[in-house]
Structure formats: C-alpha cells, structure tokens
C-alpha cells in the first residue's frame, strides 16, 4: 500500500470489487478502504497495531499466512483445478499418439503408481500419493483405454481394501494420514469391475505374446491380433513387461481379499496369490533392463532414485492438485520412494503376509503370543500388522471362533464347555476385553506397543485384585456346595485368577524387553534394568511352573476318571520347556545384574547417577508404571540397592548364575529342535552365558581392563566385551 499525502481523500467508494461476484449484505455495499488503511498505516508507530480487545498475539501466531507455500493450500501452483489440468492436456488420453511411446508411458504410470502406493503405506496421505495421478482421480477419462482404465480401477479397489483393513484394525492412529480419504472418490461398484476388465486385458496381451513367439506359419493365423506398438522387435519385451505388472496387481488384490475372509478361511488361497505376487515382482525387476535401454543415462544416481523402471518421469501426476483437500494447511512436501525401494517394500510386505498365512491358527494362547512376538521381530509395516490383528481378534473371539474364556481355560487344561453361565460372568467379560486389548496392542508398532503395555499393566493389576477379592469371598461362601452339584465354575474362576498373575508378569517382561528394541536404556542403567528383568522373570517362571502343576494334576485326575482319556503331553511338554526357557533367562538376568553391579562398584563401569538425576530418580522414571501395578509389591528401589551395593567380582555366585544359564540352555536345545527360531534364540542365550563367564574371569585377573556391552548374540541380554586400556 502506498502512503497517502494528508490533503488527499482518505477513502473512495465502489459498489463492488472488480471481477468479483461476492455480494455484500442486504442494503450494503463494498466500500474501498485501501486509502484509509494506507493513511492509518503511515500514522501508526513501529510495533503498534490496530486491533480489538479480544486480540491475542499468541492466537494470532497460528494464523495461516497467505502466499506462504507451507501454509497456503489454495496457492495456485501449476493449474487452478484438475479440470483445468485435463483441459490443458496434462493427462492425455491416449497417453501418446505414438503407440510405442504410449506403451512405454503406460508402463511408467504403472511403476509410478506402485511407488505412490508404497509411499502411502509408509504413512503419507492418499491425496499426495496414489491420487496425485489424474488417471486414478478421473478413471472415466480412460474408459477408451482398456489397459490404463482397468489398471487404475484395480488400484483404487486395492486402496479401498487396504483402507478398510487398517480402519477396522484401528491401528491408524499411529499414522494419522493413512486412512484419510479426503473425500476422494472410491466407487466400490465401478472399481470392482476393474478386475474383470484387467483379466480381459491380460488375456489379450497373452495372446499377443504368444503371437510374438509363434513361428511365421502360425503368425499368419494370428494376423488379426493388433500389436501393442509398432516395433515388432520390441513387442515381446513390452508384452512381458506389461503382463508381470498386471498380474502382480491382480494377485495382490486377490491376496488382500482372501486374507479378509473370516476365521482365516482364505489364508491358504492367499498364500498362493502371494507366491504369484513375489514371482511377478521378480519379472518386474527383470524388465527394468529392457525398459531403460533407450534412455540416456545421466548418472547412476538418477536411475537409482527414479520412480519408474525406465528412469523417465511419468505423465499425469501432480501432487499439488489435491493440496486443498487437506485444507486449511497444505500437507508437507513428501519424498516418494524410489522404484527399487518400492519393490523392496512390497517384497517385505508379501513375506510378512505370507508369515501370517502360514500360522496354523492354534487355539492356544501361548502359541499365539509366541507367534506375535516372532512376527514382530521382522518389524512388519502397518498393512501387515493390521491384517494380523484382524485375523487374531474377530467378533470378540480368537480367530472369530473361540472365546477368550475357552482359550484361557485351555491354557490351564480346563474344560468350560459345560459352564455356559461363566461366559457371562462379569470378570470373564472383563478378562475377555483385557485379552482383546492385549492382542491388539501386541500387533502395534514397537514404540506404541511399549507405551500401551505400560499403561495396561495397571488395568490388569487392578482387575487381578478385584477378581481375587471376589473369588475369595465366593469360595468362602460356597465351600459346602461345590462338590455336591458338580459345578466347577468357581474352581475355574479360581484357577483363572491364579493364571492372571502369570499374564501380568508376561506383559511386564515384554514392556522391559521392548526398551532394548527402542534403545531406551543407557549403559549406566543396565544394572537396574537387568535387576527388574530378573525379578519379573523369576515371578513369571514361578507362575508358569505352578500352571504346569495344575495342568498335570488336572490331567492325571481326568485320566483316572476315564481310562480312555489321552493326556495332551505335547502341551505339558511345551509349557515345561517354556518354564526352563524362562529359568535360563532368569539366571542370565541375575548374572548380568551382579556382574554389572560389581563392575560399577569397582569403578570399571559407569554409575547410574548422573549430574541431573539421582539413581533413584532414574529408577522411578523407567519403572514407575511397573511399580504402580505393584510389580513387585515391595519397595523395588530399596531392594535393588541392597542387592547390588555390595556386589564384587570375586563373589562366587556370579559364576554360578552364568553356568546355570549355560546348563539349562544346553538341556532345552533338544526340546526346540523342531523350532529353528527358538533354537537360534536358545543358542544365543548359551553364547551370552559363555562369553560373560570368560569376561568375568578376565576382570578378576586384571581390573584395568575396559569393558563395553554388545548385543551380538541376543537382542536383550548383553555380552561383556573386554579390551585392554
């Protein structure tokens, strides 16, 4: 605004701003106040504002700044709208009048869409990725181009399927942009037809491929087939490049649809589709060499970072066209994955989905928990984890089949089929909900999982106390009647109450171990972490051992009553092996606690106390949630201090703990011979014990050695590494 001189008019009147169809109110006009504002600006002092009484500078800081690209989603970049982009030939149909270029460009579009889809899966918005393609936004434009049209329809159907899975699993709060569709078009009926169309297109291209490979005599018979493009030398390669992409797209949608079938009924078929997908992705990768053969390379980096196999930029994509959908503020600019990385992402996703399909769906809680833990080791992404969660928890039951009462009772070798009333017991209903929440949490990503596990510890603990009081009260009142009418409901409730503590400690152990995955513990805190792990492991092993005794007792009584009854020895052996596994870990945790405490006390290792926090404060920061859940019930820090303050390297039990761990590990390796993952873990524990024994020997001989800790043999149990100073 230009400042006006004092003798000029300070305002002028116009009825309406030029070129503007925005009407003023009734009986009012638009008055031009630019000169008045200019004059007022000239007269204001520096820093002075004209504002009302309700003006708040802090609130004003959140105002969107117009014409700032990071804040102004309505800023015009290339086109005012999608319609304008289309009218200006931004997304031509056909893509090119030259059929060879048309096929090449269509393949580029397919590759770029694959990249966009993978980038969306990694946590970005649909609007900036898949729907940055005008051909996907307006599929009706391509209805004359069967290949592009059907491909775009199937992409939309696939996106819809994935949004549905992630929304139902409700894991999307961790990646907020994922399921937001911003009002983008998802036409279920039309998109569903896409698969049929794509099948027809595939058939046509297959015939064309056969025609390419046919001898000249047979070719005369197939002359009525229209080639994809004009260069006969390239026809076969183009056909193969298209076919593998079409087939991947088709089989991927089929795999997702099969995995959504209730109670895991579609898993076997899903596996077949997944295998096809992996095979077709190999072909897609192989096609890259042909596709970039005529592209002049401007350096390896450009090809590596390219979003298409050919290295060319695709036609018809503009992520800024949809930025108003995320108004009021535009989304941050995102970097798409490269084509190679997108393929790698899909290979990993497919392997993770395959892992889920292979799960035997045992109605055994221990097996389920172990499977989920093992599945999470490969750090699966959101889509795979959502599928797992929906498989495990359906209609409030495990796999949609068994209630969690049945599952919990089975873990204790109890039969609840005759106790229908128990299913509506208020504690069983609460337990059901706790189990559902636990399984959902275990399917989340690591940071979120740990945070939620810490929070539910208190819920479990409170529930445990309430149930304990109620069951004790009921048992006091009911002792005379139980054996008369054969109603074992109270007995079952009592056993479940006892089993609860084992579950609480299992959750606590998982919480502690995830801290290592997330690098939450510094070296100076290992002592207190291992001490806590030792306490929890010891309790967990004790409860698990108690459960084995209950099972053995129950099974023996059943066998006595019914001579034809066959005991489930597999379950007994599995839980017994699990108890030994826990004992091995307990010994290791104990050994590490004492070893690190001794190193600390003898000045060879960092102390827990730092310049900002005392050791007690750090202890509370790490374990506050466990202490709130009364794990353990006594003063944990006091106990920790007492048990570690006098540790010395010469203290003999240090050697015993590691030796005990080593011995148990050797014994249980036989039991896990058919489980390669578990066997590898046990070997890892054995090596941790062996290395630490050696390290302790060296420390005792030479106190000047430098010590560090590494997790080379096991992700949660450290191995001491010794170096000369």
């Amino acid at each position: 605004m230009q400042p006006l001189k004092l003798d000029e008019e300070s305002s002028s009147i116009q009825h309406k701003p030029q070129n503007c169809a925005i009407s003023s109110g009734d009986n009012s006009v638009w008055a031009d106040v630019s000169p008045l504002l200019s004059a007022a600006c000239t007269d204001l002092h520096e820093g002075e504002l004209i504002n009302g009484d309700n003006f708040n500078l802090f609130a004003a800081m959140s105002a969107l700044e117009i014409m700032d690209p990071k804040m102004d989603s309505g800023m015009v970049s290339t086109f005012y709208s999608i319609d304008e982009a289309v009218e200006n030939g931004f997304a031509p149909v056909p893509v090119s009048a030259d059929s060879t270029v048309d096929v090449q460009s269509t393949i580029d579009i397919m590759d770029h869409l694959l990249v966009c889809e993978a980038t969306w899966h990694m946590g970005h918005s649909l609007a900036q990725t898949v729907f940055s393609c005008i051909y996907v936004l307006r599929p009706e434009m391509t209805s004359s181009q069967a290949l592009l049209h059907s491909y775009c329809r199937v992409i939309r159907a696939t996106c819809r399927a994935v949004v549905s899975v992630v929304s139902d699993a409700r894991t999307n709060e961790e990646e907020d942009l994922f399921t937001m569709t911003y009002g983008l078009p998802f036409n279920e009926d039309e998109d569903a037809k896409g698969l049929l169309l794509l099948n027809a297109v595939e058939e046509t291209i297959c015939r064309q491929l056969r025609a390419c490979k046919a001898t000249s005599s047979k070719k005369r018979l197939m002359e009525d087939l229209e080639p994809l493009q004009t260069n006969p030398q390239l026809e076969e390669s183009f056909c193969k490049a298209l076919l593998c992409r079409i087939r991947f797209r088709k089989h991927f949608l089929h795999a997702l649809n099969c995995m959504r079938r209730p109670q895991g009924r579609g898993l076997e078929l899903a596996r077949k589709h997944i295998a096809y997908c992996i095979s077709e992705l190999d072909s897609v990768l192989e096609s890259a060499e042909f596709l970039r053969s005529d592209v002049v390379e401007n350096g390896n980096t450009e090809i590596e970072e390219s979003t298409t196999a050919s290295g060319r930029s695709p036609i018809g994509f503009d992520p800024t066209l949809n930025k108003r959908l995320s108004a009021p503020t535009p989304p941050r600019a995102i970097k798409l994955l490269s084509w190679k990385k997108a393929i790698d992402y899909y290979v990993k996703l497919l392997h993770n989905l395959d892992q889920i399909c292979v799960f035997p769906l045992e109605p055994d809680l221990d097996a389920v928990l172990q499977f989920v833990i093992r599945f999470q080791k490969s750090r699966p992404d959101l889509v795979a984890r959502a599928h797992l969660q929906l498989l495990l928890v359906q209609d409030g039951k495990l796999y949609g089949c068994d209630t969690f009462l049945t599952i919990c009772a089975r873990a204790l070798a109890l039969d609840v089929t005759k106790h229908h009333g128990l299913h509506n017991n208020e504690y069983i209903l609460q337990l059901n909900q706790l189990m559902i929440n636990l399984l959902k949490i275990l399917c989340a990503n690591t940071p979120w999982q740990r945070r939620k596990l810490g929070k539910i510890l208190n819920d479990w603990s409170v529930f445990n106390v309430q149930m304990g009081i109620s069951v004790a009260h009921m048992m006091q009142q009911d002792t005379s009647r139980t054996s008369k009418n054969g109603d074992k409901s109270l007995l079952i409730l009592n056993h479940i109450y006892g089993w609860l503590e084992e579950q609480i400690n299992w959750v606590a152990l998982r919480f502690l171990m995830l801290g290592f995955d997330l690098d939450l513990y510094s070296l100076s805190e290992y002592c207190m972490v291992y001490w806590y792990m030792y306490i929890i492991l010891w309790k967990l092993a004790e409860k698990a051992r108690f459960r084995v005794l209950i099972i053995v007792n129950t099974e023996e009584r059943k066998a006595k009553r019914n001579k034809e009854y066959s005991r489930d020895m597999v379950r007994e052996d599995r839980i017994s092996l699990w108890v030994l596994f826990l004992q091995c870990q307990t010994c290791l945790a104990q050994g590490l606690t004492v070893m690190i405490a001794a190193l600390r006390n003898e000045g060879m290792c960092l102390k827990s106390e730092g310049p900002f926090n005392t050791e007690n404060e750090k202890f509370v920061q790490h374990f506050e949630l466990l202490q709130k859940a009364s794990l353990p019930e006594y003063d944990a820090y006091e106990s920790f201090s007492e048990s570690t303050s006098h540790a010395r390297l010469d203290y003999l039990p240090v050697y015993e703990y590691f030796h005990d761990a080593q011995k148990i590990a050797k014994d249980i390796k036989v039991g896990y011979a058919n489980d390669p993952d578990k066997l590898a873990e046990v070997r890892g524990l054995e090596q941790v014990a062996e290395r630490n024994i050696v390290a302790v020997n060296l420390f005792c001989q030479d106190r000047s050695l430098k010590v560090s800790f590494e997790f080379t043999h096991h992700p949660y149990f450290a191995t001491a590494v010794v170096r000369r100073s």
Binding site: S10, S24, L64, E84
Partner: protein, 106 residues
C-alpha cells in the same frame, strides 16, 4: 498574504488527523472485509488486526477462488479460519457497509 500555521499548531493538527485515521480504521474492526490478492483469490473475513506494514489479519475467513485461469469461471469457496494477508500481495481491500455509513468513510 496567507500566514502559515505555526509549527506547533501544524503538529497539533497533524496529530489530530492521524488520530482520526486510526480511529476510523478502529471502527472497521470486526466488520466484514473483502481482500483481493495478486493471484486472483478473494478472502472474506472479519477484520481483526492491522499493523504498520499494512498486513491484515482476518478471522473466520472464507477463500474464494476460480477453478479456471480464464474468466469468467465458476468459483469455489473454502473456510480457512484466521489468516494473515501480507500487504505485498494485496490488490484490493473493501469493507461491507451501509450506504449511509460509506459517507463517514469519506
């Protein structure tokens, strides 16, 4: 021969006129203001704040934009809330007022 007003009086008159401009702009606060910017968009909101540089803050703002570069073309609108319009991109600034009121703006 006309005598010039003495400097003190001149300064007094000037400061009174200054107060007048600022006061008149203050009266426009909370009124519907329509601001046009260089790329053809219009913003309709309640006038909330003005600074010395001429930057304007509007509240409860609606953005009006054409969906085509060429005119005439249909417009679409979008709610933005509180916005800051830098003076450098402003092309017009109008306030909604009655026909009687507009006289007071002269």
């Amino acid at each position: 021969m006309q005598r010039e007003a003495p400097p003190l009086l001149h300064r007094l008159l000037k400061s009174q006129i200054q107060i007048l401009y600022i006061a008149r702009v203050r009266k426009l606060l909370f009124r519907q203001m329509l601001v046009g910017i260089k790329d053809g968009r219009f913003f309709l909101g309640n006038f909330h704040c003005l600074d010395k540089q001429g930057n304007i803050i509007l509240q409860d703002t609606l953005e009006y934009r054409s969906i085509r570069r060429s005119s005439p073309s249909p417009t679409e609108q979008c709610y933005l809330g509180m916005i800051l319009i830098p003076s450098s991109c402003m092309t017009s600034c109008h306030v909604d007022c009655s026909i009687e009121e507009q006289l007071s703006l002269i």
